[in-house]
Symmetry: C2
Subunit: 340 residues, 2 copies
DNA sequence: GAATTTTGTGATAGCGCTATCAAAAATAAA
DNA sequence: TTTATTTTTGATAGCGCTATCACAAAATTC
């Protein structure tokens, strides 16, 4: 007669199944898998064979619960963003983390997500680190996250000092350099096109422009600060306003390449010769910026290197005294590509 | 004297802390939080107060372990893709799932990720459903995933029938319609530009073009099948090949808007008048396609609706007999925007 | 009123794993 | 050889939660 099951089980092979087959104690199996150097080769072989035979897979939830320790999970919390460059950064960072045995996963923090489930994931599954991408200062996620006692990385333009590891994207400096470049090329009546200005990343770029203009005693009033997304259409639409308000304009610096390209499109439509009548500069070094006609002047932040840099910072922090063997990273360099 | 701790604990407030404070058993607290209708109002109030006072947060790992049941986690497994439209789809899908109390998270499945950690996450944390995005037929993830006994959704151009819920992107049909549109506009010497052709999504589009050309008895040999990424540069470079090989060409259909726009750029550079000398059509209805000069003819798959559609399919499946109150979805409609 | 059903509540025993400690085996030192 | 030391191994007792059952309290029924 079938015996009554008292509990639902996951139905999976467990440690003790393996232990039974290998004829050893459960602890020995646990050790063979987690700290193999503590187990004799003879038993290790037996156990590995049993693991393979049964197709055993450890249950991380049980492991987490028993050890109150993490299973190398790293939560990457990012707001709604389709920024291609930023995704590159995140990918590179993930690759570095995976290479060291960590398991990164991405959670998008936009509404309608409530913070409760984020917090629950982080604390329940003993996430061992949190990476915040371009998180706004007044996002509620901060409160959730800073109360955890684990390393937190923030990647973004805000130089926030209240988390462990801050990787600044240095948007202000980059835009400063770009604007100086344009000024040095001889342009004087320079406008700025900013969109999505509620995000700090764009504000930083805006300020970089201001800084450069002020440094060279050039007027800073020719600014269009659109609240629409920083895309092609917004750039395209903005040109009309520039032309009406400041016909004397000889250059427009834009906070993204999309905006710049949008402006360029509208110039083509209006037969404004670029860059002879109007110079256009973008930001981001996107792929199209070098292919469009004429190519845009643009500036790139070294996103990929920054991703690697951030990962290595975090890995060092996580290993503290493990003395990991991490590659050296070059200091990320800002690069201008220009056709002006 | 400090008493010896026998075990590391998470240091968090536990159920029994709450139970003690409220003066009830742990089971009552568990019930008050999970199935409140089973607990009297009097105790419920006491317990809720205690939960707030202590700031209690349930440990999902323990819950998962104890109940061998999921905590509404949904894994979205996606390959390396920066496809803006696809990201929109995923976002919409996530929003629908979150609205129903699920907790989706994203795992990127590209190398260097090993499948072991994916599998471990899925089985250990009792993920209650898996969403696969544009997963290639021979990706090893399939083996991992199909052995789980949970609903699996596949979103992509492949009409795979070996998972529960298949949401096809119907790339072939869309490209067929687009090509017919171009043909109906009177173009006859039509080329096709495909890139990234190793991905099934692009193959489907390629086949849609073939189908339409064959249907109208037009030649199907004018194909450039680039193995480079489907971006602006590839498009730009391809034009030269088209012009050299088939100078009689009067239209080029491209498998993405980026390719099409790249072709357009090169036309501008060579002073080829679009669409009079050469018509260009893209795929994807990206934002720039309507802003560039001249606007591209393009076709869009209704990604957002598809995301919603997929979510609702999955939710229905997950709730089976819960009788969820889900909104009705329109059948996704393919839309052509054209300037030809 | 007693007997039945329907709640509501709590003690108990795990879920699958690991920390801890004690015992056993292997090695080194005396 | 005996003794001290190190290395391996396993029994036990939880980690924080929930399934299960048993029992008390309340609401029905007869």
């Amino acid at each position: 007669m079938a015996e009554l099951k008292k509990r639902k089980t996951t139905g999976q092979i467990t440690l003790s199944d393996v232990a039974k087959l290998a004829g050893v104690g459960t602890m020995t199996v646990s050790r063979a898998l987690r700290t193999p150097e503590q187990v004799s080769d003879k038993l290790k072989n037996k156990i590995n064979k049993a693991v393979k035979t049964l197709g055993y897979r450890p249950n991380l939830a049980a492991s987490t619960l028993a050890s109150a320790a993490s299973n190398n999970l790293i939560a990457i919390i990012m707001p709604n963003s389709h920024d291609h460059q930023l995704l590159l950064l995140i990918r590179e960072m993930q690759n570095c983390l995976i290479a060291q045995g960590y398991t990164p996963f991405i959670v998008e923090s936009n509404p309608p997500r409530k913070n409760t489930d984020l917090l629950a994931m982080i604390s329940s599954y003993s996430v061992c680190a949190i990476v915040l991408i371009n998180m706004d200062k007044n996002n509620r996620v901060w409160q959730v996250v800073t109360h955890q006692n684990i390393p937190i990385v923030h990647i973004g333009s805000d130089a926030l000092n209240y988390v462990d590891i801050n990787v600044g994207l240095n948007n202000m400096e980059a835009m400063f350099q770009l604007t100086e470049y344009v000024i040095k090329k001889g342009y004087r009546e320079i406008g700025l096109l900013c969109a999505n200005h509620e995000y700090s990343i764009f504000q930083q770029r805006l300020h970089g422009w201001y800084k450069a203009m002020l440094k060279h005693h050039l007027p800073t009033h020719r600014v269009i600060n659109a609240s629409s997304p920083a895309n092609f259409s917004t750039g395209s639409r903005a040109l009309a306003d520039f032309v009406i308000n400041w016909p004397e304009l000889d250059a427009i610096v834009c906070t993204t390449d999309e905006l710049a390209c949008g402006v360029l499109y509208e110039c083509q439509r209006r037969h404004i010769r670029v860059p002879y009548q109007l110079a256009i500069a973008g930001f981001g070094d996107s792929e199209f910026s070098q292919v469009c006609h004429p190519p845009l002047t643009t500036i790139s932040l070294p996103y990929k290197s920054i991703g690697e840099y951030a990962a290595i910072q975090l890995l060092q922090r996580l290993s503290e005294n493990h003395s990991l063997n991490l590659p050296a990273v070059d200091t990320p360099i800002i690069k201008i590509r220009g056709s002006l």
